[in-house]
């Protein structure tokens, strides 16, 4: 198999994983208007949660089934404790509070799990990989993660476009007061959206744990790349997050082959190009 094709495959798979993390951020940002810097911490807590849960369950997918509801409840509590006080305040105060949350979560992580890197086992039935060249094989687990991400993306688009809760979310995004006037409790809506965002970030952290290995500070790069995805895709758009994440994944993987010296700036160059051509993002409303 050709090197470029392999890199495309890597890029798409990396992009799908970024999408999981970025989708939660774009929902929270787009619908609630809250800049949530602690989004990466939910990813980090997901990864460490996967570490602990897998020690008990022995299987990453069981950990996923347990961890996602836990993350949802955790997000629900965080919204009730902190975030709900921020809706009428400016972005600077949101940044301050959610940055403080990062510091608190990082310290909690250190107290609970220590600072040594850990690995989370890939389940036995997904060991090994598909042989794609003489020396190289593509791990089954990565294929499974990619399939899982695609399924989740489709499910999210279905919920947002076709269901009642999706209609409420979209209505809340375009006109919050009108939704309230129609008798819908927007506070509850926001709490639900924030908890979903946290659960999505944690989902990404859990499925990534066996790929990434788990170590302190694992969430911060995810936060930054998620913001890039949101900017490229357009704030609040799940479809945009999907396309943006795949674009970034592919640009990153190909950048590493063709411009190794500049590979870390390729995704930002892409972001700049999108901002110039479409300031609102690919699928965002015109800014």
């Amino acid at each position: 198999m050709d090197l470029v094709l392999i890199q495309l495959l890597n890029g798409v798979q990396y992009g799908l994983l970024i999408f999981l993390a970025a989708s939660g951020l774009t929902l929270v940002f787009g619908i609630m208007g809250v800049i949530n810097l602690s989004h990466g911490s939910f990813y980090m807590l997901g990864a460490y949660g996967a570490l602990t849960l897998t020690q008990f369950t022995g299987d990453i997918f069981l950990s996923l089934a347990l961890g996602v509801p836990l993350a949802f409840v955790f997000g629900f509590i965080i919204e009730w404790l902190f975030i709900r006080h921020l809706y009428d305040r400016d972005h600077l105060q949101q940044v301050l509070l959610t940055f403080a949350l990062i510091l608190i979560f990082n310290e909690a992580q250190k107290i609970l799990w220590g600072s040594y890197p850990h690995s989370v086992p890939v389940p036995g039935y997904l060991q090994g990989g598909i042989k794609i060249s003489q020396f190289l094989s593509y791990p089954y687990y990565r294929v499974a993660v990619a399939a899982f991400c695609v399924a989740l993306a489709l499910a999210m688009m279905f919920v947002i476009q076709k269901t009642r809760i999706g209609r409420i979310i979209r209505a809340g995004e375009s006109n919050r007061e009108m939704v309230e006037a129609l008798g819908i409790d927007s506070r509850l809506l926001f709490r639900f959206v924030f908890a979903s965002g946290a659960a999505l970030a944690a989902t990404a952290g859990i499925v990534a744990a066996p790929l990434e290995s788990v170590y302190p500070g694992i969430g911060e790069p995810v936060l930054i790349i998620s913001f890039v995805v949101v900017v490229i895709g357009g704030i609040g758009s799940i479809k945009g997050a999907f396309v943006g994440a795949i674009l970034i994944g592919v640009a990153d993987a190909l950048g590493k082959v063709y411009f190794p010296a500049f590979s870390s700036s390729v995704v930002y160059a892409l972001m700049a190009a999108v901002l110039i051509a479409r300031p609102g993002g690919l699928f965002g409303r015109a800014a």
Partner: protein, 398 residues
């Protein structure tokens, strides 16, 4: 997990204790330097991908001082800890905070080479006794050496040179390098290149990844297409763990040997599991070294922290050993700098890593050992290169 949280709680208590004491007796510090506590500033990573390295160094230093009754040469040691986050842009401010703000007597730091460069610049200007327990940036003990700056770890090229020699001995003729593209990675690769090419080896391609990026897939695919006999890689901490796992998952392990300086496996031996089996590294320390110091150090460290020490802990231990030699020579009077530095330069002691002494540029001259990761442990295969010293190129002390 349980044990680690216990250490952290104790640390927290200790820091709270220091804080409370400082608050209760703001004027109690005696004016005479002799009996007063010696304030030692620790600029180390306590968060991020190198957090475990910072903890290992700190634990060992703390253990050494505790074993001396909390004092070195009659002076009570007081740690002033700052988390440098391995972020070079913050290094200048944080170092100034320790040197000018906290007025520490001794500066110890750090892990990341970029942070150490900024730290050393301030240390040189301030003329404060400074010990580097890990960062390997070559110039720190080459062109930018200084009489007040000592290193107890290694110059980045040293482990690379030793690994190259070991790979030639193992009959490897072709290699690809794949490392983080920052100072430490580049210098490590340069050291490897020097000895590997001199021994008749050929480097097919040098691949890099920006630090601290851990998306290795692109490079691994390229390695598979280049088909070298072996890969030389410099990664450390969490990144090293992920790298070994990705390398194994990509199926490369069975066809292309993975080599590197020992940082690739240190601290993550157990976590690497099957993915780490057979990874060969060269380093100035190996767990099973047969010497009295190492046996005692391992037993004591394990008793105190419920985990065995890694190379970073050994470097922390030797940092306090070296400081102790200097302080004893001046009877604890840190102001007698010329005598302090003279004693430290001439220091020769037995380290858990084997015999330890310093070059004219104040960088260690020590043995490098060949190790193979087997069953969650680096197994000792022999001496890769004896008495390795780093060139003192451009150092005015040499």
């Amino acid at each position: 997990m349980h044990n680690k949280s216990r250490i952290t709680r104790r640390d927290a208590l200790k820091m709270a204790g220091v804080g409370a004491a400082a608050a209760a007796f703001p004027f109690a510090r005696p004016a005479i330097s002799q009996g007063a506590p010696l304030r030692v500033g620790l600029l180390l990573p306590y968060s991020g991908t190198f957090a475990a390295l910072g903890d290992g160094i700190t634990n060992a230093m703390d253990l050494y001082v505790k074993q001396q009754g909390g004092k070195l040469a009659g002076r009570t040691i007081e740690w002033v800890k700052v988390d440098d986050e391995s972020a070079p842009p913050k290094a200048t401010e944080l170092t100034s905070k320790l040197v000018q703000g906290e007025k520490v007597d001794v500066l110890i730091g750090t892990v990341h080479s970029g942070v150490a460069m900024a730290m050393a610049k301030i240390a040189r200007e301030a003329g404060i006794p400074t010990l580097i327990p890990n960062a390997g940036a070559n110039v720190l003990t080459r062109a930018q050496c200084a009489k007040n700056i000592f290193r107890t770890s290694f110059g980045n090229s040293q482990p690379g040179v030793a690994t190259g020699i070991a790979m030639i001995k193992a009959g490897i003729k072709t290699a690809v390098t794949y490392s983080w593209g920052y100072a430490a990675g580049e210098e490590s690769v340069a050291g490897f290149k020097e000895s590997f090419v001199a021994g008749g080896g050929k480097i097919i391609k040098e691949l890099t990844l920006p630090f601290p990026n851990v998306e290795f897939q692109a490079g691994l695919a390229e390695i598979a297409s280049l088909k070298p006999q072996a890969v030389y890689s410099f990664y450390a901490g969490g990144g090293a763990l992920k790298y070994m796992q990705d390398y194994a998952a990509a199926g490369l392990k069975s066809s292309i040997q993975l080599w590197g300086p020992g940082f690739l496996t240190d601290g993550v031996e157990k976590a690497a599991g099957a993915a780490g089996e057979g990874v060969k590294t060269a380093l100035h320390y190996v767990e099973s070294l047969d010497n009295a110091e190492n046996k005692k150090f391992r037993a004591d460290y394990n008793a105190a922290f419920k985990r065995f020490p890694d190379v970073y802990a050994v470097q922390g231990w030797d940092t306090t050993q070296l400081l102790d030699v200097g302080l004893k020579a001046v009877g604890g009077d840190i102001k007698k700098q010329d005598d302090l530095y003279k004693a430290m330069r001439a220091a020769k002691f037995n380290s858990p890593r084997g015999p330890f002494r310093l070059s004219a540029a104040q960088n260690p001259i020590h043995n490098f050992y060949l190790r193979e990761l087997k069953g969650g442990e680096n197994v000792y295969l022999g001496v890769a290169a004896a008495d390795v010293s780093d060139p003192t190129t451009g150092c005015n002390l040499a």
